[in-house]
Amino acid sequence: MDSARLKGNLDLLVLSVLADGPAHGYGIITMLRDRSDGAFDLAEGTVYPALHKLEKASHIMSWWDENGPRRRRMYDLTPQGKRQLAAERKRWLGFARGVQSVVGVPS
């Protein structure tokens, strides 16, 4: 997937990954790559500005996790983020259905 299209949907993708539970930046990137079978392979560092923006919008919250060999910044959805995810998901599915019905399924 081209990076511009990916970046345009990064908020939805990050919120979707966090719907499974708290994760740190590296974990989020790894899950994105694994769940997309390697299709979503964006510059890993660009996930942090996206995370910070989502936190500023109160869609996610974060804290430093000192347990473990390395200090990690953990992220989790807020109640507002869960509502945002539900709305974004609904919008995306509607859009995807529309595109699919126009483009059609390859025979």
């Binding site: 970046k7 740190h24 930046g25 590296y26 990137i29 964006l42 510059a43 890993e44 560092g45 660009t46 942090y48 500005p49 996206a50 910070h52 390395r70 200090r71 990690r72 910044r73």
Partner: protein, 262 residues
């Protein structure tokens, strides 16, 4: 600066790119980047890569410092709005301060008029047309001559209009105060440096004080005390305001004196 570790080198480069960013946000991004890169390099090393190769690959996957900083930067329109908002707030406060100074000069003119007579503030040393005289005599019915009516009217206007400007200035200062107290995100990070707006304020008031002083001196030289108060009231207030701006400006510009060491 070169670093033996690709991760260290990347963090140095990212630090350089973030030099203009908000300090807390930059510190956090650097800490997260380091944690991410070391974890990524560990994972790659576990697949059999040499440590140096693993670090290089981790850095390559992370993206360039420029990419990260560009993604962190607000959208262009947000920056423009922020820049305008960040500049408008100090301008509102400066304009408010200027108008309040005009209002105070009105009060000073009123005090001068009461102490030294209306001529000290209102005498303009002009010849008036019959129509102007008619107007002055109509609005100042207690005057016994056109000149006296003109003096009374000029003096009255000098006080009333300046006090009105002062009231408007107080409203603007109130708007600026609420804007600051509300801590709006708009314009945050684009605020003018206090040195800039203190310099603008000091310069404006110092120039006004100098100009009005010249006018006062010119009048005093040519006509004696009549009309001097019109300009002198403004010159005194402008000089006081210039000093009020100069004191904090000097404190910020000049380095604090080192205490004597024993």
């Amino acid at each position: 600066m070169t670093a033996a570790s690709p991760i260290e080198g990347f963090l140095d480069a990212l630090y350089d790119e973030l030099r203009d960013a908000d300090a807390a946000a930059a510190r956090r991004l650097l800490a997260e980047a380091e944690s991410h890169l070391r974890e990524s390099a560990d994972a790659l090393e576990a697949t059999g890569l040499e440590r140096l190769e693993a670090e290089r690959a981790a850095v390559e996957r992370f993206g360039t410092p420029g990419e990260i900083v560009a993604a962190a930067r607000p959208a262009v329109h947000t920056r423009l709005v922020g820049l305008v908002a960040g500049s408008v707030r100090p301008l509102v406060l400066l304009l408010g301060a200027g108008l309040v100074a005009v209002g105070v000069s009105g009060a000073v003119a009123a005090a001068m008029s009461a102490a030294f007579g209306s001529d000290f503030v209102g005498s303009m040393h002009q010849t008036y047309t019959a129509a102007a005289c008619g107007h002055f005599l109509a609005v100042q019915p207690t005057a016994t001559s056109c000149t006296q009516a003109a003096v009374l009217e000029t003096s009255h206007d000098a006080i009333a209009l300046r006090l009105l400007a002062g009231g408007l200035g107080l409203i603007l200062l109130g708007v600026g105060w609420v804007w600051t107290r509300r801590g709006s995100e708009l314009g945050r990070g684009y605020r003018l440096s206090p040195v800039v707006w203190l310099t603008v304020g000091f310069t404006a008031f110092a120039v006004a004080a100098a100009g009005l002083s010249v006018q006062s001196t010119d009048l005093a030289t040519n006509y004696g005390s009549d009309g001097v108060g019109f300009y002198l009231s403004g010159a005194l207030v402008a000089a006081f305001a210039a000093v009020a701006f100069a004191v904090p400006l000097t404190r910020r510009v000049l380095p604090a004196a080192e205490p004597d060491r024993p």
